[in-house]
């Protein structure tokens, strides 16, 4: 059994354990297979480290955060978001900046707009409407992940 096949079997079983007997069946000379699996595992580990820091937790608790390639900076007029992968700049109004500040603070998707409405006077509900639409845009563009 190749190293790769052995690993896949262990992963499939769900216990992630390779018994000594199984390990003995693996071909130690199968370096190519070992390297391939190692690379794949490192990719998975890197992805899951990110997930465990953000996405998985976020999915469970509805928490949002900025995507890893997004930088935020406050400005006099509001703020800017810089997406380093496409090198795109998004200029934000004060409302937009307030939404992103809440995201950075770890707000939950379900109550972010309500939180903003508590903080700022919004008798007409216009700000809440804008914030809600803007949050949807941020998610759609992949700038905020849940």
């Amino acid at each position: 059994m190749s190293y790769e096949a052995l690993l896949r079997k262990a992963w499939k079983s769900g216990d992630f354990v390779v018994t000594e007997a199984e390990a003995e069946q693996a071909d130690p000379a199968d370096e190519a297979s070992r390297r391939k699996v190692r690379r794949e595992m490192e990719e998975i580990a890197a992805r899951e480290t990110w997930d465990s820091n953000s996405c998985l937790v976020a999915h469970r608790e509805g928490i949002m955060k900025l995507a890893p390639f997004v930088k935020f900076r406050e400005e006099k007029f509001g703020a800017v978001l810089f997406e380093t992968r496409s090198e795109k700049v998004y200029t934000l109004s004060p409302t937009g900046a307030a939404v992103v500040r809440e995201v950075i603070a770890g707000a939950e998707a379900s109550n972010l707009v309500a939180k903003l409405s508590e903080k700022f006077e919004d008798p007409t509900g216009k700000m809440a409407q804008e914030a809600s639409a803007f949050l949807a845009q941020l998610k759609e563009k992949g700038l905020v992940v849940e």
């Binding site: 930088k71 900076r73 380093t84 496409s86 998004y90 200029t91 937009g96 803007f134």
Partner: protein, 326 residues
């Protein structure tokens, strides 16, 4: 760098920003290669005599961090030949600035690529002018196609995001389709190209490097097809504007970015000879203010208009002229 507006005020210009959004920093003019088209005229033994010391470079990094500049690129010359290169990378990434490295790919050992990954480098852009050994090695004097490809493989194995940059020349322009395919095959997420510019070494080598103008329509048509073909898998960026059009556009719409030269002087844009400060003596904040006024200098506008009549004046690219008041 494009600008989009999101929940935005009516108008936001660079003068509204507290600091640049992108700083392109040429950290040395030294290079292991001597490319035919090099805009910086870099090469072996071409380091400036007054390049920034490590201490001076670190002082600039600390200001970039403090000013929350979101994105910085280290280029050259070949940035990786600077002895304190990794010290600079570590200091700037630990400060939270997104960093891109622009390299010819000849120093991308597995160890160096792993260090990039560990330090959180956002992207490494490798220049790959051609889809074949013959065209790459012709363009990149002393360069080795296989070595650049091997470096890219090491980046991929380390999990570092890869960008590819391609400069067209007479002898590689018809390889553009194959070059885009190759970029995707080797794991790039972005591909950049545009027209060869009549600046730097290209001024002297124009006769052997400049593509036939009649080849450009097919070049851009292929790029449009490839943009569609790789949609969702790899971004293909290309600029159809020539140098003059680009500069006229920038005069009206300066981007929120400037160029730091290896000696700390700051240029408005690479293709103009104008500087607006010196980070050996000025603070980043001062230079940013000077940058705003420098773009409004009549000398800048006049130079661009003279360029329309005489394209050869860009050969003065490295005869810097200070504009913008302190």
């Amino acid at each position: 760098m494009t600008t989009e507006t999101a929940a935005a005020p009516d108008q936001t210009g660079t003068s509204d920003l507290a600091a640049p959004l992108y700083v392109a920093w040429q950290i040395t003019n030294e290079c292991n290669l001597a490319c035919l088209h090099c805009i910086e005229e870099s090469g072996p033994g071409k380091a400036f005599k007054d390049e920034l010391t490590t201490e001076q470079a670190y002082h600039i990094i600390d200001q970039l961090v403090k000013s929350e500049v979101p994105y910085v690129s280290f280029s050259g010359g070949e940035p990786m030949v600077r002895p304190d290169f990794f010290g600079m990378v570590e200091r700037i990434t630990k400060g939270g600035v997104g960093l891109k490295i622009e390299t010819n790919g000849h120093y991308l050992t597995p160890e160096n690529c792993k260090r990039f990954k560990d330090l959180g480098v956002k992207a490494v852009q490798v220049s790959l002018d051609g889809a074949s050994t013959a065209s790459f090695n012709k363009m990149r004097v002393h360069g080795r196609f296989e070595e650049a490809l091997n470096g890219i493989k090491n980046l991929r194995e380390a999990g570092v995001p890869i960008e590819i940059n391609f400069v067209p020349a007479k002898f590689n322009i018809k390889e553009i389709g194959a070059a885009v395919d190759l970029a995707h095959q080797i794991g790039a997420y972005s591909f950049y190209t545009g027209k060869l510019m009549f600046t730097g070494n290209a001024v002297r080598t124009w006769g052997i490097t400049a593509p036939d103008e009649a080849d450009y329509p097919q070049f851009f048509a292929t790029l449009k097809e490839k943009t569609e073909e790789y949609k969702g898998r790899m971004r293909v960026y290309f600029h159809e504007m020539g140098l003059l059009d680009e500069l006229r556009y920038r005069l009206e719409n300066p981007a929120a970015l400037f160029i730091i030269l290896p000696n700390g002087k700051v240029k408005l844009i690479n293709a103009l000879p104008f500087t607006c400060g010196d980070l050996k003596t000025d603070t980043l904040g001062q230079v940013w203010k000077q940058f705003q006024t420098a773009w409004q200098s009549p000398r800048v506008g006049a130079f661009i208009e003279r360029l329309a009549e005489d394209p050869t004046i860009v050969s003065r690219l490295h005869q810097w002229e200070e504009v913008g008041t302190k």
